[in-house]
Symmetry: C2
Subunit: 384 residues, 2 copies
């Protein structure tokens, strides 16, 4: 039985429901951020992240900073970008606009390649764009939390390496790391950034990032100083290397409780083959998408190959808006999220299905959610 009090199942695209043991780690007694017990745990976390991202290249470098996923964008812009550099931002929703805004803040020129809502830029369009201008950085949102659109990383990275081999491939994996397959080395990715509170299954408050040896080299050979202090790899690189070597080190105080919780969560994730975890998410996603279709509802992402496996963005029936169904769902013990894509926010809702709600066979969150959605729609007069 869960040690958590009864509460509505949080099925938004992050934060997600957390395992009891992870939440218990959050209340770990106070300990020194430079004491050996904590240093050992932080070191283990960095090694675990290498496994989660499927990188065995010793030149790859994990970073875990106090902050939100957004801080990963600042790390990319401030450490890999220099004023005047060019970035190609592949747009599949709200988060590309924001990442572009972040890049521009640091003086990097961001060119967005947009797709219609629910779709993603096609490879031939990306190829054309890469041939028109030399880009230092290409960014792609693996899963855009505003639309549920999944990007295809493997073929995209192959294309970039073929057409524009010096361009760094930067992946926003905030809504994908831990539930979508990512092979960092094999796919030759340069940065994958994420946050703790989605498919990794640890409460919010950590910016998590993996950089390739090539990205670290670009950072090391930059001409100007990184234009952030808190997010600067000048400050954090030696700290992360020391922690991983189990040596105490200090730049800014990390959060021992969050790192302990992340350790618990990563230990659980890595106790099973990753392939199985990704398959669980794919299978549950298929089941949900079929149920949504059976209800006569459409997804924002209309092509199967564009559909995320950890969330579903669902168009409401004509004339029904999120406030018509979300409070009724909450009364039934289910929390979904409203729309986030500005142009269509009032037309859709978002259903997150990541982590323990998917992988823990004792939980019935998903089945309850589908039933509750059906009932709530019926209450406002909708018939499938």
């Amino acid at each position: 039985m869960s040690s958590q009090p009864p509460h509505p199942a949080l099925l938004i695209p992050g934060p997600i429901e957390f395992d009891d043991a992870v939440l218990q780690s959050m209340s770990h007694h106070s300990e020194s951020h430079v004491g050996q017990p904590f240093v050992n745990v932080f070191g283990d976390v960095l090694a675990q992240l290498r496994k989660l991202f499927q990188t065995s290249d010793p030149a790859s470098q994990p970073f875990v900073l106090s902050g939100s996923g957004t801080l990963g964008w600042d790390q990319v812009a401030a450490n890999l970008g220099e004023p005047g550099d060019e970035a190609l931002v592949l747009h599949t929703g709200y988060f590309a606009d924001s990442f572009a805004d972040c890049l521009e803040t640091y003086g990097v020129k961001a060119t967005q390649l947009k797709a219609p809502i629910g779709d993603r830029p096609q490879l031939d369009e990306v190829e054309k764009a890469l041939k028109e201008k030399k880009y230092k950085i290409l960014t792609v949102t693996h899963v855009d939390t505003s639309t549920g659109v999944l990007s295809e990383l493997k073929a995209l990275s192959e294309l970039v390496h073929r057409v524009s081999p010096d361009t760094l491939v930067v992946v926003d994996g905030v809504c994908s790391v831990g539930c979508e397959e990512i092979k960092f080395d094999e796919w030759k990715l340069d940065v994958v950034l994420t946050a703790s509170q989605k498919a990794i299954g640890c409460p919010a408050g950590l910016s998590i990032l993996m950089a390739s040896g090539r990205a670290i080299e670009v950072y090391k050979t930059r001409k100007t100083r990184p234009t952030s202090y808190f997010g600067s790899w000048n400050n954090w690189l030696p700290i992360m290397q020391n922690y991983e070597a189990k040596k105490a080190s200090y730049f800014a105080t990390p959060s021992p409780q969050l790192i302990r919780a992340l350790h618990t969560s990563l230990t659980q994730i890595l106790s099973r083959p990753l392939e199985q975890r990704f398959a669980d998410h794919r299978n549950m996603s298929q089941k949900i998408k079929k149920a949504i279709g059976d209800l006569g509802l459409k997804q924002l992402s209309s092509k199967p190959e564009n559909q995320a496996n950890g969330m579903t963005a669902i168009y409401l029936p004509e004339g029904i808006t999120p406030p018509d169904v979300l409070p009724s769902l909450t009364k039934k013990g289910i929390i979904f999220a409203g729309g986030l894509h500005k142009q269509i926010a009032a037309k859709y809702i978002r259903f997150g299905h990541m982590g323990v709600s998917v992988t823990d066979p004792n939980r019935t969150d998903i089945d309850k959610a589908i039933a509750a959605l059906k009932e709530s729609l019926a209450e406002v007069g909708y018939k499938a």
Copy 2:
């Protein structure tokens, strides 16, 4: 009885020991960052911070961001500084060097006014410096965690307002907010920044900052865009205002668990008169400093008016270094910190006395620590 397992008392200058209820809030079940229950709690926290900082001016603006205390420096540098601006940095230890480095990262020219180790710049020296050049920002470390030197804010701020009235008075209160008296309005401070894990008594992971109406005006009338994204008030100001008005709002995902724990901690702090809390810390500090003197030991900060009330930096006897005593202290259930000021790190240790270890009458941490220090020194042959 405490719900925490037995563990050594953490008496470093942060993180500190935490109250059971605060740690229990850290394991709060998952909730939406835009759901009303959490929004209400975040709103309450912002209102509580106004009380803690003793500001009733509605133009004052609190900020709570995921990050460490260091992120407060970035907020100051990126939102109040513009490239080419001048800052006068009062130096009382390690943290002034770092704050200066942060300001320079954002293109602000930092001039340091240094004092001998254990002392602070004198008011006549500050006056002279302010008359020599026009500074947009003056920064002062209220308590430098590396030296235990306390700065005098009231007279300093009066001086700045008299001699250089346009200069913003920025206080690094990381090791002071919650244990040293701060009257934000009455002393006409412009920024006080801090972190959660010291005298506020909430686990690490939050950057907490109060800005005056005047500081917000300087930010609003800046000519260039803030040069940070994650730390930009362009992004956070509307969010903080919405949260305080109990309206859901989104820029980047906050940490509901940390905000819940902060709420618990601030509720405890504000349940008693602040004056009493500060007096408790002063009285305990006096007791500790007397015991240190009785042991024949000297403090880094030799003048009583320079001595912090939440920590004590203690010179070890000649020939004894931190590794000679810290492990032995840990065996006795007491964790102190080593030296941090680079020039003298091997010569001293630091004893933190903030929060529940001071205010909870059921705890005996401090008495045990003094006894353990005496024993550990005796073990290596030192006699008072």
